[in-house]
């Protein structure tokens, strides 16, 4: 049964990549599958290509057991579907290519399809972080009203940290992967998006240097708390919440200090103006 699905899956891939790959017999060990360079560069606005390739895969006949070409399993939805299934396997197999391969198999694709994700675990982490970012505004809808700014930020941070909870045992591994030089830009990008989203949902409308200082301070708080959370074994992550509170107290003190420095600079500027006027 498994061999039938594997052969059928290979046939599916052979059809869609026939323009690129010469028509040789593709064996599981052959690394010639280059259907898409990277799913990340797929433009959301290019819907026409999705339509044509979906119809091509549909016309392969009804006797193969690969997933039907529904909206989540079209050429653009397939990578996401595989990675989403892989997330369920992370607690067992970690943020690795093994998770992706096993997830692909569970969906009926040949495990070799993990070649679509050249960065392996990093691609899975990238998908997970993007998914958390998309979920964050939905989970915070309607819960931010009537709270002070600090409370909204705390709520946003805790909500985002809560999304890691299912994977917290494997999170140090993820942090290590994110810290690798080739992945650092990806992880910093995501961190920037996280703090921007939290501040935006808290109603931040700053358009000057405050935009940067707010996000930088939240990024520092977020990363330290995230790291602390991986060692937290208390119920409901009580210790993490208290840790977060303490970090916000620190930040408040820092904020006052920055204000003083700015005040001194302002005095300096005013005296220069006075001299010019005299």
């Amino acid at each position: 049964m498994a061999s039938i699905t594997r052969r059928a899956g290979v046939a599916l891939l052979m059809r869609s990549s026939s323009a690129i790959v010469p028509r040789t017999t593709i064996t599981p060990s052959a690394r010639q599958l280059t259907t898409s360079a990277s799913w990340r560069t797929a433009e959301p606005s290019s819907s026409t290509s999705t339509g044509t390739t979906t119809s091509t895969s549909n016309s392969n006949g009804a006797d193969h057991a690969s997933p039907t070409a529904s909206s989540t399993h079209g050429p653009k939805g397939t990578p996401d579907a595989i990675l989403r299934a892989a997330l369920a396997l992370v607690p067992e197999y970690g943020w690795t290519t093994t998770s992706i391969a096993k997830a692909a198999e569970s969906l009926g694709y040949p495990s070799i399809i993990h070649g679509m994700f050249p960065n392996g675990g990093a691609d899975l982490i990238d998908f997970f972080l993007q998914d958390c970012l998309n979920r964050l505004p939905l989970e915070l809808e309607g819960r931010m009203e009537g709270l002070s700014t600090q409370e909204t930020i705390k709520l946003g941070t805790l909500t985002r940290l809560g999304m890691i909870a299912p994977y917290v045992d494997r999170w140090p591994e993820a942090l290590a992967i994110m810290g690798q030089p080739s992945n650092v830009s990806m992880s910093l990008n995501h961190l920037a998006k996280i703090v921007d989203e939290i501040w935006y949902l808290a109603g931040d409308k700053s358009a000057d240097m405050n935009w940067y200082t707010k996000r930088a301070s939240l990024a520092a708080i977020y990363t330290t708390t995230e790291l602390y959370m991986t060692t937290d074994k208390t119920l409901n992550y009580e210790a993490t919440q208290r840790f977060l509170d303490r970090r916000f107290e620190d930040a408040a003190t820092l904020g006052k200090a920055t204000n003083d420095v700015l005040q001194i600079a302002e005095f300096g500027a005013k005296s220069v103006t006075g001299i010019l006027r005299s």
Binding site: P44, S45, K205, A207, R277
Partner: protein
């Protein structure tokens, strides 16, 4: 959940009103390419067909959300960032000029007027920055200092030099807004149409300043050519830098 989704999907129709309103404008950014992902697009496509009308903040209930390609989004971000930096610079140039020439009977009130208009421009662009979720320029303190130094410096050279500085800056800014209008015409969406109107209005304001400066003997400034060229090149450099940083 449904009501808040409705808010996230209804794009704004009036930028100036929005800058003071609390209306969530996630429609613009959540459907912009960098943030689009399958997880977000499924709820949005599902509920856009069932959004609840009667939101008092929006006038058109069937305005589609603003969908931009990556390049368009990047272009728009750069444009808005540069505009804000430009208004900031102009603001501080006038502040510097007023610091020196504010007491002058003829030029003082004039500078005050032009400065007030620039203050208004800056406030509007601050609102646009937060509405479109654009990163503001990191070099803001630098532009403030440079603008003040330029304004005060040219004012110290005399009234005509100050007017020449204004002439040069407004020429560059007016031309720049014009180029942006050409780019904005390529995107067809009511929100962008609003932005176009604002840019057009501001372009006309800046050109008005230019004419005022010319009326007040800008051309008679000492070393007019050199001042003009120097300032124009400086402005172009500032525009390029603040687009990136």
């Amino acid at each position: 959940m449904a009501s808040t989704l409705r808010i996230t999907l209804q794009p704004t129709s009036s930028l100036l009103v929005r800058s003071t309103c609390q209306t969530v404008t996630r429609a613009l950014s959540s459907t912009a390419a960098p943030r689009q992902a399958s997880a977000a697009s499924t709820p949005s496509s599902g509920s856009s067909s069932s959004h609840i009308d009667g939101d008092s903040n929006t006038t058109a209930s069937n305005v589609p959300p603003l969908r931009l390609s990556k390049e368009q989004r990047a272009m728009l971000e750069q444009m808005i960032r540069v505009d804000q930096a430009g208004e900031l610079g102009a603001n501080w140039i006038y502040r510097g000029q007023y610091a020196v020439l504010g007491s002058d009977k003829k030029v003082g009130p004039l500078l005050q007027n032009m400065w007030d208009q620039e203050k208004h421009h800056l406030k509007v662009f601050d609102g646009i920055i937060s509405q479109y979720r654009v990163r503001p320029t990191l070099l803001r303190p630098f532009w403030e200092m440079a603008g003040f130094a330029l304004g005060a410096g040219t004012a110290l050279l005399g009234k005509e030099a100050a007017m020449a500085c204004t002439e040069a800056v407004e020429t560059v800014i007016g031309g720049h807004y014009n180029d942006q209008l050409k780019e904005l015409l390529k995107i067809d969406h009511p929100d962008i149409a609003e932005l176009r109107k604002i840019v057009q209005q501001f372009r006309d304001d800046e050109l008005e300043h230019l004419e005022t400066a010319l009326e007040h003997d800008a051309q008679k400034a000492p070393q007019h050519e050199h001042i003009s060229n120097f300032i124009k090149e400086g402005c172009k450099l500032a525009i390029w830098v603040s687009g990136k940083v």
